[in-house]
Symmetry: C2
Subunit: 104 residues, 2 copies
Amino acid sequence: MTAISSKLRARMLDALAHPNRIRILEAIRLGHTCSCEIGPELNLEQSNLSRHIRILVDRGILIPERDGVRINYKVADEEIYQLLDLSGELVRRTTERSIREVEL
Amino acid sequence: MTAISSKLRARMLDALAHPNRIRILEAIRLGHTCSCEIGPELNLEQSNLSRHIRILVDRGILIPERDGVRINYKVADEEIYQLLDLSGELVRRTTERSIREVEL
DNA sequence: TCACTACTTGAGCATTTACTCATATATACA
DNA sequence: TGTATATATGAGTAAATGCTCAAGTAGTGA
């Protein structure tokens, strides 16, 4: 069991560290598997969406599957959602801590 | 249980999405609690280190505690390390998947 | 007070990022 | 072949990021 380099981990986290990319992953989680659905759903400009998805595919987070004209995306690893959920949990706790501080 | 906004989650992930900030957190995990130790350990220029630490403190990830001239840092929430470990696990799996693909 | 250590910050710079508009490519099907 | 739908990309731009050097602030103890 070797430690993964900070550079690679940063690259993985960086791929997720954008509101729109998180929203894209959440849309896929809810069953919107192609960008022709995700775009309108999230109200993202087509080329912008395309570039965000490209980042997720390039980093090995999404896997594209062509189906005629459309391309369906699935997450390569469901564990990615654990990571997203954890980040939400951390935000929640951090917020609560700072509220407590103000109250003291 | 409300969903945390993608913006806040992105902000949390973004705070971690840099090789040096990950290395700083790992150094703290190993017991190097002040930047006077972390700097030499990681061979980071002092002002650069200061700015990275500032980001981690501002985001509520690190908590500073003055002790004379030095400032000791501790993580606000140990769960941050779960997140870092998870990112490493995802990198590992992603790498293995791409190796398997080449072998097919 | 002065000097020393620890840390912060202003300023400047190069690089990267996110975004948009317009255009190009790819697939399906008449 | 032509047309429609889905996706990708070139080019340009504004803003953010990471870094460094130099100068500043803060606490400690002589």
